[in-house]
Each structure stands twice: as C-alpha cells, then as structure tokens.
C-alpha cells in the first residue's frame, strides 16, 4: 500500500494544480497577515475559507484523480498487489498531497510571521489540523462516490452535490427546522445534527478552541453548554476521526466487490 501511496503522491505533487492550490493559500494567507496584525482574526478569516474550500477542492481532486487514473488502476490490478491496498494507497496519496498543499500554503506564511512565538500557536495548529482532516474526509467521500459511479459526469455531479449538501444545504435545513420547531427543546437535536456534518463539526471545533462565543452560533453554544470546552473538543475530535474512518471503510467495501 505504501508503494502505491508513494507513487500517487509523487504523481500529484508534480501536477500543476497542486501548485496552484498551494500558491493560492500562500497568497491568501500572506495578504491576510499583511492586512491585519491580529493573528486570531487571521485565523478566523482562514477558518471561513478552509471550511468551504478544503472540502470543495478535496472533493474535486478526489473524483478527478480517481477517474483519471482508471487505466492505471487496471494496470495495478493485474499486478500481484492486493486490491484494497491499491485503492487505499491512491486515496491516501490524494489526501496526503492535498494536506501537504494546504499545510505548506498556510503554514509557511504563519511561520515566517512568527506564529510560534505568539499566543496563537495553538489556534494556528488547530486550523492546520482541521484543514488536513477535512481534506481527508472529503477526498474519501469523493473516492467513494467515484468508485460507485462508472459514469464520470454523474460521479462529478454527485460529488459536487455531496459537497454542496454538507457545506450549504445542510445548514439551511438545520436552520429552517430550528426556526420551525423553536417552541420545542432542540438542544439534543441540534447537537446530533451538527455531529452528522463534518463541516459543522470542524467549525465548532475551531470556535471552541478560539473560545469566541459570539461566533459560535446555536450548535456551538449548545456544545459548550452541554459538554464544556474540554469534553466538547474531545467529543468533536473523536467524531471527526469517525468521519475519516467511515468513508475509508466504505471505499474498502466497494473496492472489494467491484468489476474492472
């Protein structure tokens, strides 16, 4: 598996899209740091970007990479290599290269700026971690969708839809139901609802870490009230880890049964 991972990783590292992606983050972070001297504000601005952009790019890259390397996958399938290691290796290659672009693109400007001497070091690391986790989650979802669909147009459409669902539609439905059922106690419902969405979960995690109640929103506030900052973070970390593990297990299951 690690050999496949290595090759997928180096294949992607040389793709110009990886550089564009990394360059974008770098430019964006540098300009934010240049515009504002308050590091925690920069972290919050970046949070809003990472919550939308990391999942989107991970979804696109995941689907694209799977479809583009289909023939190559067939070549690998004829080699004495285990099926699951091919797919997990490719997936991890995509997720790792995305994470590397993100971490370098955002991390380098911060380090140059001297984040590790400041009080914001912890928050910065949390931001980095969230970007990495979201890349892993959404490239796994994308891989799963691509594996399920032979037709690339359909696969692309579904993957984008999945991203749109988690990034936008889900919150809309949640808000709508909160306002419709506002006369009922909704704490537990909203708690569960936010746990079921990796993007919401990441937002809460960062805000708990930053400890900005004003930005936390209803679910965030409920989270803190019920679980406290420490336990809330632990729970959301664990659930977020589940969000990585579950799609990977699904990839494995589909890969074992698929014809090529």
């Amino acid at each position: 598996m690690f050999k496949i991972l290595k090759y997928s990783f180096f294949d992607l590292i040389r793709s110009r899209w990886t550089y564009i992606y990394c360059g974008f983050y770098m430019l964006f972070t540098f300009s934010l740091l240049w515009l504002s001297s308050d590091l925690s504000k920069v972290v919050i601005s970046l949070m809003n970007v990472v919550l939308l952009l990391c999942p989107l790019i991970a979804t696109m890259f995941g689907v694209m990479y799977y479809y583009n390397s289909r023939e190559f996958t067939e070549l690998l399938l004829a080699q004495p290599v285990k099926r699951t290691s091919i797919f997990l290796g490719q997936y991890l290659g995509v997720a790792a290269s995305l994470s590397a672009s993100w971490a370098i693109g955002v991390g380098l400007p911060f380090i140059i700026y001297g984040v590790f001497g400041s009080a914001q070091a912890g928050n910065f690391l949390m931001l980095l971690l969230i970007g990495v986790v979201l890349s892993f989650v959404f490239s796994a979802i994308a891989f799963f969708i691509a594996l399920k669909n032979e037709n690339r147009i359909k696969g692309f459409g579904l993957a984008i839809l999945a991203w749109l669902f988690f990034a936008v539609i889900y919150d809309g439905i949640l808000l709508l139901s909160l306002s419709i059922f506002s006369e009922y106690p909704l704490e537990k419902f909203s708690l569960i609802a936010s746990v079921l969405n990796p993007i919401d979960l990441s937002r809460i995690l960062i805000l708990l870490k930053l400890d900005i109640s004003a930005l936390m929103g209803f679910t965030g506030a409920v989270f803190r009230k019920f679980l406290g900052t420490g336990l809330g973070m632990a729970v959301s970390m664990i659930v977020l880890a589940m969000w990585v593990v579950l799609p990977i297990l699904s990839i494995r299951m589909v890969a074992i049964r698929k014809d090529f």
């Binding site: 090759y7 023939e71 190559f72 004495p80 090529f260």
Partner: protein, 239 residues
C-alpha cells in the same frame, strides 16, 4: 495451469459469460477469438481477478483464485488499452512496476528490442499510441511468468515492432509457457496459434487446433473459416 469451470458473469441485464468451461493444462499458444462483445476480455479479466464472476470457479496453478492476489505474479498480462499516469516518465513507470514485483526483471533487453531508449525520460502523456503499446509490452514481458495473457497485443504497432513481437511470443512459447492471445488480426492467429477457442455470446462455440477449424469449415484460411462459423451461427439463429 488454468482451469475455468462453469463461469457465469453478467453486467446488469447483459449476460456476458454463460457457463464457460476451459482448461489450459499444456504449454502452447491459444488464440481466443470471437466478435466484439463475445466475452473474450471478460474471461481474461476474470482469470486475473479484475472481474469477479457471478458463479463458477477459476484456478491458476491448482489454486482457486477467488479473493487471492499473490497468484498474479505467475501471470504476465497485457491489457487492451495502454493508458498510464500522464505525469510519470517511461523509466519511472517501469521502475514502479518493478518495485511492485519481487521477481527479477529483464526490462533492459526489451527496451532495446522495441527501441524505447530515447523515450525513457519522456512523460507517458506525450507518447504516441504505438509507443505506449511498446511500453505496455515491455511491462508485460519483463517477468519470466509461466502464463502469458495478451489482449490485442498488436494494437497500434508498426510492422517492425509487429515482427519483433511475434518473435518474442515465439521465444516464450519455446520456453514452454502457456500463452493466451485475443486478437482480431487473423494473420497473427495463423502464424502463431496452435489452438483456437471461438467464443460467441458468452459460450464456447468451437475449440480445437487450427487444422480442425479449417477442416470443419472447409475453408483454407482462418479468416474465412471464422467468418463461415459466424455466418452459420447467424443462419441457425431464429429470426
């Protein structure tokens, strides 16, 4: 060497293989023929475990292959379409496949045979179809496997490479290997094959030596013999 029993496979409503029984237990070159969509590639992919059969068993060297993967180092396989990761160079691809196999490879001789040396540092995305097929051939033949499966080996090859390929297949045959070839190029069948398996709609319609095929159809060459077999089948089918 390879034994297939009652192999069934359908893709959705399309029944591609309907009870295939095949055994290749002696060294030799077998041509698997049949019109497009008759199930040739599906059989090959089932042997390699790329397509998972609905029912039936396949064993390679006496071992049932379901769910296994190590047996594949016994098989050299040339896929039908040679498309590779575009960002890798030829040398990197070869190195990578060597990295995945533990056996020793003789890629150098094959690279010279197909005159690929000037292309080693080129990216695969920039190669022509024929050159890619040569890379494909190098990857297939660089291991000393007892079983060789070639799916449309001549696609896109120029005449010189074609001659070299035929020589290569002949050499492998002399080493006592079991070789399966699917092709639509009948001259290749005539020159190389000792035995012919003719597939039609997922069933084995004819199996025998080239001589038997010609005798059965009363035609002097393979191309006509196959055409006649097909026509006869069409005539027998209810309209």
């Amino acid at each position: 060497m390879i034994s297939i029993q009652q192999l069934h496979k359908s893709f959705g409503a399309n029944k591609v293989l309907r009870g295939i029984d095949l055994k290749f237990d002696r060294p030799g070159i077998t041509a698997v023929l049949g019109p497009n969509g008759s199930g040739k590639t599906t059989i090959i992919k089932s042997i390699l475990g790329m397509v998972l059969p609905d029912s039936g068993t396949i064993s390679v060297q006496g071992e049932n292959v379901a769910g296994k993967w190590r047996y594949r180092n016994q098989i050299a396989y040339l896929p039908q379409i040679a498309r590779f990761p575009e960002n890798l160079t030829v040398a990197e691809l070869i190195r990578m496949v060597k990295d995945l196999n533990s056996s020793t490879a003789n890629d150098e001789a094959l690279i010279s045979l197909f005159e690929l040396r000037p292309f080693l540092d080129k990216r695969l995305g920039n190669l022509s179809g024929g050159t890619r097929q040569k890379v494909n051939l190098v990857l297939t033949f660089m291991y000393d496997c007892p079983i060789i499966i070639l799916d449309e080996p001549t696609a896109g090859l120029d005449p010189i490479s074609m001659v070299r390929l035929k020589e290569l297949i002949h050499q492998q045959r002399m080493k006592g290997k079991t070789i399966l070839i699917t092709t639509h190029v009948m001259s290749l069948v005539e020159e190389l094959a000792e035995e012919v398996v003719f597939l039609l709609e997922g069933q084995i319609h004819f199996r025998g030596s080239l001589k038997e095929l010609k005798e059965k159809s009363e035609e002097p060459n393979v191309e006509r013999a196959i055409a006649k077999l097909l026509e006869k089948q069409m005539a027998e089918m209810p309209a």
